[in-house]
Amino acid sequence: MMADVLAHFEKVTRHFGDLVAVDAASLEIRSGEVLAVLGENGAGKSTLMKLLYGVYPPTSGKITVKDCPDGISGPAEALRQGIGMVFQHFSQLPALSVRDNLLLAWPKTPFWKSPRNRATGDVLAKLRELAPAIDPETAVHDLSVGEQQIVELVKVLNIRARIVILDEPTSVLTPAETDRLHGFIRQLAADGVAVVLITHKLRDVEACADRIAVMRRGAIVDVSHRGERSMQEIVTLMMGKTVDRNLPSPQPVRNPVDRLVLKNVSAEASGAQLRDVTLTIGRGEVVGVAGVAGNGQTLLAEVVAGIRPVMEGDVLLDGERIARRQPGETLSTRLGYIPEQPRENATVEQLSLAENLALRDLAAGHRTSGTSIELLHAFNVNPPIPGKPAGTLSGGNLQKLVSARELGTPRPAILACYPTMGLDLAAIEMVYEHIFAQAAAGAAVLWISEDLDDLLAAAHRIAVIREGAIVAVEKNDGTLTRDRIGALMAGMPIVSEAA
């Protein structure tokens, strides 16, 4: 089938102040084809597609969309023109029901949206097709992340989109859900839709891409058809040099002494639960926690860090209780704690970088020491000006700032939650280096991550969390596979492993 060019980028550039997010990119989007836009974090993939979707205009260059002479002025216009985008952060209203969310995005919603109205029945047709188990009247915040993603996809399909853009869709899915999504994507392309898949995972590319555009530092460095290049070549193009993914592996630990102990921990907070969690981490040991997002990882971290109280059970560090019992207690956490979303959870935006680095001391009423500049440079925080308010930093730099504070001095234990989110490869390596250095110095490391490959490469043991309970703790001795972890994450029976 002769593919139509549905959209065309011509030397498109986008600046944010001094930052060049997209650099003279030229690309065609064709119907009936899955185009993978591949690159590591910060390469500009999301920004490129947001330009098409109309979130912001290009600084220079032109984007033409077929049958749309006036261009795309904004997301509402994009929807009207049949361009749908499924973002990493879903565009859903958690307090409203699935049906309401779908009706909101649907152009043909009648004035009276009664359930008996035939027109409102149409909006649910695709949902019933893709996921009959989801009850349309449930509120979105009661759905799992994978289900929310399906709802998001249905929103886009309901507008009969001719271009569907998916931004890093598989980062929140179990391996089985990922396979299902890959199937949807291939089906969409077979139906004539142009699918753009933004990803940094080679697995996604291997599974469904017809064409591969590689981006690096804002520029499109290569466009190739499936099969034209080997995976190694593509990795080289992505990284800019031949790089073996060189995760510093931790030193093996023999008979470790228990350091960080969770004993029958149960807790509950805003919809999440922890049920009878028992986990022991020894001196110098790195224990990874794998699981689909939203299965209790956040609550687990907050309980161990002493932010949320436990209902039952205890958390001990070096024999001392660090769990919070009453909401009114005040504890200052002795762990090195790197939470997810550092902007909301680990920094005070109005204070300066130096003050944020010294937050523990300031909160305890002590004076600050003057080592901030060294720390900022050691962790590559940009710009390294101690007096600047932390709110002016980008997300990635805030992550590095928090890492600097928590990993910069030896600690008895480290609790790291998705510590490499939003960082480029060099920064990821640096953060891992520091975490494993802490382990080498004797710290107990509890590491929550979404990246199974990283966990398999570097953790001594991997615990799997599902629905607030630890369903397994496996030794990572070389025999543990992705499939096995995936099955545990999804709660499926373990099938005999395909290598």
């Binding site: 565009s91 859903q92 209203l93 307090a95 909101l104 995005a105 009276w112 949206k113 009664s114």
Partner: protein, 307 residues
């Protein structure tokens, strides 16, 4: 026996209904405003302005309905100031509401001077020779005016509109996230301005009902914080229009009990009794926090105002 009971109950019901009616309009209006993510403390000022202008027009034209309309329009006009400050100039919502209240306090104080002591033609009662005979309902209708059923209808209509219509859904979306609403092609600012003005119209109408219908007088600062009570009651009603009715009736009941105790001849300071309705609202507000998960019901964008 039953006749006595009915005779006792009827005046309480009537008084509660009539006392609650102005508050129902104001609370309903503020509920809509808060559902789109805006808090408007100027409701107090809008009620006051509605009471003042409504009374003035009612006296001048001799037609209470014109007075009520005028009161509504005055409240709506004043709310435009809040809309302009918050949405046009990005001003802080609490501060803007208080500024509007201040201006209304001063303005009505000034313009209302001339109105004190005037008489207004009241709204006709609902009762007629047809209904006078019916035991309980007849007595109630004989003493109530159109304002009461209007209030009930307004609640029913707004509850249905918010839950079952497309524009109602869009308004709810704006209150949850203006950003996501915009991504769905909704003009968040336009919706917010509309909601603020509708809130102002309803508050103004409620104020006019207070002066023209309920008390049939004008006095300085006569709303005595009813508008602020309305803001509190929106929270107690969990931002649901349908709950506005029972919640306001509770306040009306509290007010009526105070008056009854006074007229029953008990030796109680009228001022001390006057604190009772406010205390009731405070207690109910606290109870609703203890027993319900408030955080989950508040429209998400509204939370940002208090963060």
């Amino acid at each position: 026996m039953t006749a006595d009971f009915v005779a006792l109950l009827a005046p309480w019901c009537i008084a509660t209904l009539r006392g609650a009616t102005p508050l129902i309009f104001a609370t309903l209006g503020e509920t809509l405003t808060q559902r789109v993510g805006i808090i408007n403390l100027g409701v107090e000022g809008e009620m006051l302005t509605g009471a003042c202008v409504g009374f003035a027009v009612g006296v001048a034209t001799g037609n209470p309905w014109l007075g009520l309309m005028a009161g509504a329009l005055a409240g709506g006009a004043l709310s435009l100031l809040h809309a302009g400050l918050v949405l046009g100039a990005g001003a802080n919502q609490i501060g803007s509401g208080l500024a509007v209240w201040m201006i209304a306090l001063g303005g009505t104080s000034f313009f209302g001077r001339a109105l004190v002591g005037n008489q207004v033609t009241p709204l006709p009662n609902l009762g007629s020779s047809l209904t006078d005979g019916i035991p309980f309902v007849g007595t109630v209708m004989a003493q109530a005016t159109m304002a009461v059923p209007l209030a009930v209808l307004a609640v029913i209509f707004v509850a249905w509109w918010l839950a079952q219509t497309r524009p109602g859904l869009r308004w709810k979306a704006v209150g949850e996230s203006a950003r996501i609403a915009a991504e769905n092609g909704i003009h968040a600012t336009r919706v917010r301005v509309t909601a603020i003005v509708v809130g102002g119209l309803l508050a103004g109408f409620g104020g006019a009902v207070l002066s023209v219908d309920y008390t049939q007088t004008w006095a300085q600062e006569m709303t005595k914080g009813r508008g602020l009570v309305a803001v509190g009651l929106v929270i107690v009603a969990r931002w649901k229009p349908a709950l506005v009715l029972p919640v306001c009736l509770l306040f009306g009941l509290a007010e009526v009990s105070v008056l009854r105790v006074q007229s029953a001849g008990y030796e109680f300071s009228p001022h001390l009794l006057g604190t009772f309705p406010y205390l009731v609202v405070l207690v109910v507000l606290v109870l609703s926090h203890i027993f319900a998960r408030k955080a989950s019901a508040m429209p998400a964008d509204l939370k940002a105002v208090f963060a």
